[in-house]
Chain length 468, copies 2
Amino acid sequence: MVEVAELPRNETGIGTVLGVLKQQFGDRLQTGQAIREQHAHTTTWIANQAPDGVVFAQSTQEVSDIVTVCAAHRVPIIAYGTGTSLEGHVNAPAGGICIDLMQMDKVLEVNASDLDCRVQPGVTREALNTYLRDQGLFFPIDPGANASLGGMTATRASGTNAVRYGTMKDNVLSLEAVMADGRIIRTASRARKSSAGYDLTRLLVGSEGTLAMITEITLRLQGIPEAISAARCSFPSIEAASRAVMATIQYGLPVARIELLDTMVVQALNNYSKLDLPETPLLLLEFHGSEAGVAEQSETFGALAEEEGGTGFEVTASLEERNRLWQARHDAYWAMLALKPGCDAVASDVCVPISRLAEAVAACEAKAKEMKLIAPVVGHAGDGNFHASLLIDKEDKEERARAAAFISWLNTLAISMDGTCTGEHGIGQGKRAYLVSELGQGTVDVMGAIKRALDPDNIMNPGKILPG
Amino acid sequence: MVEVAELPRNETGIGTVLGVLKQQFGDRLQTGQAIREQHAHTTTWIANQAPDGVVFAQSTQEVSDIVTVCAAHRVPIIAYGTGTSLEGHVNAPAGGICIDLMQMDKVLEVNASDLDCRVQPGVTREALNTYLRDQGLFFPIDPGANASLGGMTATRASGTNAVRYGTMKDNVLSLEAVMADGRIIRTASRARKSSAGYDLTRLLVGSEGTLAMITEITLRLQGIPEAISAARCSFPSIEAASRAVMATIQYGLPVARIELLDTMVVQALNNYSKLDLPETPLLLLEFHGSEAGVAEQSETFGALAEEEGGTGFEVTASLEERNRLWQARHDAYWAMLALKPGCDAVASDVCVPISRLAEAVAACEAKAKEMKLIAPVVGHAGDGNFHASLLIDKEDKEERARAAAFISWLNTLAISMDGTCTGEHGIGQGKRAYLVSELGQGTVDVMGAIKRALDPDNIMNPGKILPG
């Protein structure tokens, strides 16, 4: 485990708030140790820092009530969805109250004609897509985990479809949110575009619960494409695969997904999922469009790939085949874990301009080898975003230190390439140290000024994003 | 003219700052009345409020120097590009210093592989597209006017291509900006996506110079499509045309432009541009893609339009024909003015969910008739954004009052439909009264808190966006 500094606790305030909340919420306030620990960070090597109580909120008004009580006593508030974040976002380093939003799980409105919907934050992306399917609509953002839409909004999530459909910032039309003093605001109308004042929607998307609690989300939707096909293509090297990605993007081919798997991941998948993929770097793709459009896209990609030495290019329109391919991609995490039984996987998340992708991934692989670390790479290559997952022994202190040094090196490399230390996982606790080197002190100071203006007592998810 | 309240002037500070700037900038500081008036609002019925001096800045450092001097003496600073904004953004109600950024007109960097570029704020969109053309790239946002990219960023501009390519918020990757104390910051890296802290890029896009001065813009670019075709189709009614637009968007057809012109605009164009279009509501379209893709798109649109009674559907791939069609669209403003020689045109800018577009435009036409106003309508219909332009006599006080009442009615209508009073022109001075009714006092208070945090002395473009 990586220890994260505790912050000063307001014991008196916490005690008072727990008493007040018990009166209003009864059994919907839980303070048992197990439930508190489940509601803090559990997914990576960052240590668990449990809140003092967990309230299961059922309405915006209840969230506002909780925030109002916490504000009166200067007690921290942390939002909780499915707990799948990777950078310690849901930890409570100063204690406080966790608001579990998963009982706020209603799809409130679907406007099929306008391709939008309004949901509560506890709706998961899979639940939304199940709800939408018979209307011929879908919500495209897919970070892998079946995360809550509130959590995805708070971390500016993206994933495999972002190359075509953008990230959460591009797919949230408006938010309802509870501010640090309990006020309920709506950030925008339901118009597709607007120039009405500051873009509070985009300010809250990715703010990781440090500025406000998101209580409703108005999302853009897409029509389910007439045709979908999936494809795979193997390449002689990471550089060749990356060049094929670059050519595809430059060509303007509207690929829906273009995922890069390095040789180690392909080997892991062959073992884990009983496949017989050529053990070289692989691209997995998906094309959305009309029947003719999809056929044309895959043909164009095939030609671009061939120029970079791509082989074994296979396209399938069969739903079963397509699911098998993407199941393998989704299994990559488990397949990687199986490379080193009993290990922990710690994901890095850098994103670089795609012209630097080949160089960055190659350097990453070489550095891991040099540092004797197992670090298979998967990437949302069309965006220049890739994850080297370090497979480390939970108990091996020396290996953990090497892994931390590697991640630090990789983040610094990405930043030196005019990229970012986090393409989609967020800053949380884990990456606070890199924010200044990436953006400069002046920029981080501006973020701090906004934080102080909207949350003067620092009760909204303290200890996240901004360096301490 | 519509008078806008003057704000208290800091005479001593202004005098001191003019003296200091004269020393540094010599003849690049101008204080003659004509040049000062040219650098304030000149485009609509909002009265001209000239700054006290105009500085022609040539570098970010110079902008920072000017802001630092103004900050020390609490003197207002207003950015100026091409002066094509419509809501009084460049007025100086408290006097102060206008920074003309048009000498900062360099394209600093084009990364063709990454489909991005970095420009100074005085580059116009036409200049950028001319610069990019031989690399096979283009910047898609087209607000009509040949505006500066700095101004387009500041007002979150969009225009005819937004239905496919989004607005400025979707096409700015990163900004360099000078904050109210003279600090220079960069908001983001050049990565295609990021979850690194608050989205300061999107906070500054659309902030109308009230939070910072934009000194560099990193933009996303597009490859010039392999094929482009244009089309037109006439409809028996505004409702039918709007339903065809809705069907097109719902179908997911990736139209590059889909513009609505009402009967009055078509008549005006027939007169002005010597065309013989059927005098009924008209849609003008553009399709981008591969040869086959463009053909398929226009065929699909043709079928959708026919279901709504569309007639005279004509498609052309000829560049000359295409230019003629879009020239007519661009001439709409002049054609409308010719409907009432010597008049002023005052553009409204509402945007509604597209399911309400037919209803909104029909109500708008009926209300104009009832109020005896000439108000031709053009619309970026795919986004639900339309402009009723009121043709009014400059000197007729009573007609001006009716026009103001009409715009107020229209803004209120759009807001009641969960739309916005401004799809793309911004709030400026002209629409401040509507911000609270659109978004609520709580939301506007949050904007105010951000403004005070980043510009505590209210020197950055005072009197804009936020209600006084």
